[in-house]
């Protein structure tokens, strides 16, 4: 349990990586790192695809990255209509990448491919926990 608190609306209740949500409530955005071989994963994984280990630790994602791409959704799937429009994008932290929404205070006309960005934890008014891309 616990993972139903992730994101605007979660479609997954149970996962071995549910600690991710607890870390968000502590203000941390963390991926997993394999204790055996050091492979790093974001989004977090419970199992290492490189060496098959299930012995994982958590690590904090970098603070500085570049916006690789983005889109502004003017139409939303069922259950997300009230949030429109919202912007989603991919951040590249020199290899490690992250997908999320962009902060609401970032105006669409100010968002550019390649801009410097960071990523922050986010709590919605209904208690859901997430993270968002913000201007660096």
């Amino acid at each position: 349990m616990g993972f139903e608190k992730f994101g605007r609306k979660s479609f997954t209740g149970i996962t071995k990586t549910a600690k991710f949500v607890d870390l968000l409530t502590e203000g941390k955005i963390e991926g997993t790192v394999c204790k055996q071989c050091g492979a790093k994963f974001f989004p977090p994984r419970a199992d290492c695809a490189s060496c098959f280990s299930k012995d994982m630790d958590w690590f904090e994602v970098p603070k500085k990255g570049k916006l690789e791409t983005f889109t502004i959704a003017y139409y939303a799937p069922f259950g997300f209509e009230k949030d429109c429009p919202y912007t989603m994008g991919v951040v590249d932290f020199s290899g490690l990448k992250l997908f999320a929404r962009l902060a609401k205070d970032l105006k669409p006309e100010d968002v550019k491919v390649g801009m410097d960005v960071t990523v922050n934890p986010l709590q919605y008014e209904d208690g859901q926990m997430s993270f968002e891309i913000a201007k660096a």
Binding site: F11, F70, T71, Y74, M88, F99
Partner: protein, 393 residues
């Protein structure tokens, strides 16, 4: 190139909004046409494969239900799913069974009845064809995913909204003359002009993609009948041989995608494998069907298939090289953009178009010059799965 497995029959329902019947009746439309085309009866069929994306209708395990309605029991039947590429995956499975000697003739039937749910519900289901644990909670949907590719690609390669519009205009040119297409109207630049109050295609859906950049949901079915060489020669005057099959997969999560400006990796991977197996290059292809679920996807496919160098796909649309009279005609049946995209039926419909082209039976859509080699590029999800299949006479 080996000529071991042939297409001996093709069929397709009209692609429509709000099909007046259930999925079994929809499936029968394509089946009837393909069986009559092949000139065979159910007792000639060794097995059937049914293909769709689940959750658009209530039927679970549709293969048994449809096999019964089509008269294909007691032969073996089962279900194959790779979202939007389900029926080309089904053809790969059918090919494999014949090549392995398990069956002489296999029916591959793709279907989708999308109109039983609303567009927003459909977007939610399609979005759940991507990563539901880590991405769907942000409110993702197919147009937004393809828009991520469009944004990065346009920024790097100088592709413009006008280029994307011109892909849609091309598709409209052929949608008008394809009587099975859901969208039969031509498309003009004025349709994309935001200052024009009547513009049908100008509204932003997921920027930079607009209404006109997206294909239409539709109800439809397709059927491809495959046979081994002996049966193909016995039943068919014009067998169309499968010369090459390639398939690939990619990480579901956008965070694991290598480079958005380079397009979908499955396009390259599947194409390379298919060309190698067929022993040809992109230059040998005379007519192609590519997965244009969005306008940007057609441009990326030009490059994945080697019709244009990386980043130069825009030149083909600017030079009208992918029109019927051009050097490499692409989607001259209207593509997914105009023909419509009933998910599970799409790959089989693309194959039907290429088979008719190679037989010289494509009517007003026929590519001149008696094409002898055709290609089908069918992508599932956001480049999650990719199938490229090469056909020849």
């Amino acid at each position: 190139m080996a000529k071991d497995v042939a297409v001996i029959g093709v069929g397709q329902s009209s692609f429509v909004r709000g099909y007046e019947g259930s999925i079994r009746e929809l499936a029968f439309e394509a089946f009837r046409e393909a069986m009559q085309d092949a000139g065979i009866t159910q007792k000639d069929v060794g097995a059937s494969v049914f293909c769709s994306a689940p959750e658009y209708d209530k039927q679970r395990s549709p293969a048994g239900v449809l096999a019964e309605y089509l008269g294909l029991i007691p032969q073996p039947t089962f279900y194959i799913e790779t979202v939007c590429s389900s029926s080309s995956s089904g053809v790969k499975v059918g090919y494999s069974m014949i090549k392995a000697g398990l069956h002489d003739i296999v029916v591959v039937l793709g279907f989708q009845k999308m109109s039983e749910i609303t567009s927003a519900e459909s977007q939610e289901r399609m979005g759940r064809g991507a990563d539901i644990q880590w991405e769907a909670p942000f409110g993702t949907m197919m147009p937004a995913y393809y828009a991520l590719y469009a944004q990065a690609y346009m920024a790097k390669n100088g592709l413009t909204h006008e280029d994307l519009m011109n892909v849609r205009i091309k598709s409209g040119t052929y949608g008008q003359i394809n009587e099975r297409a859901v969208y039969r109207k031509g498309v003009k630049a004025a349709d994309f002009d935001a200052s024009n109050p009547d513009a049908r295609m100008a509204g932003a859906v997921a920027w930079p993609l607009r209404v006109g950049d997206a294909c239409a949901n539709a109800d439809g079915s397709s059927c491809v009948i495959l046979a081994n060489a002996e049966k193909a020669k016995a039943f068919s005057k014009k067998p169309v041989w499968i010369l090459g099959i390639g398939a690939a997969s990619e990480a579901v999560n956008m965070a694991a995608r290598p480079d958005f400006a380079k397009g979908l990796s499955v396009g390259y991977g599947a194409a390379n494998e298919a060309y190698k197996m067929a022993g040809i290059t992109s230059k040998d292809v005379k007519v192609a069907e590519v997965h244009d679920c969005f306008t940007i996807a057609e441009i990326m496919a030009y490059e994945g298939l080697g019709f244009a160098p990386m980043g130069e796909g825009k030149q083909l649309i600017r030079e009208k090289a992918t029109y019927k009279e051009g050097k490499i005609p692409v989607n001259v049946d209207g593509g997914l953009l105009s023909k419509g995209h009933p998910i599970g039926a799409t790959g089989g419909s693309q194959i039907r178009t290429i088979v008719l082209q190679l037989r010289g039976e494509a009517g007003p859509m026929q590519v001149p010059g008696d094409p002898d080699i055709g290609l089908v590029h069918n992508v599932g999800g956001v480049g999650l799965y990719g199938n490229v299949t090469i056909f020849g006479r």
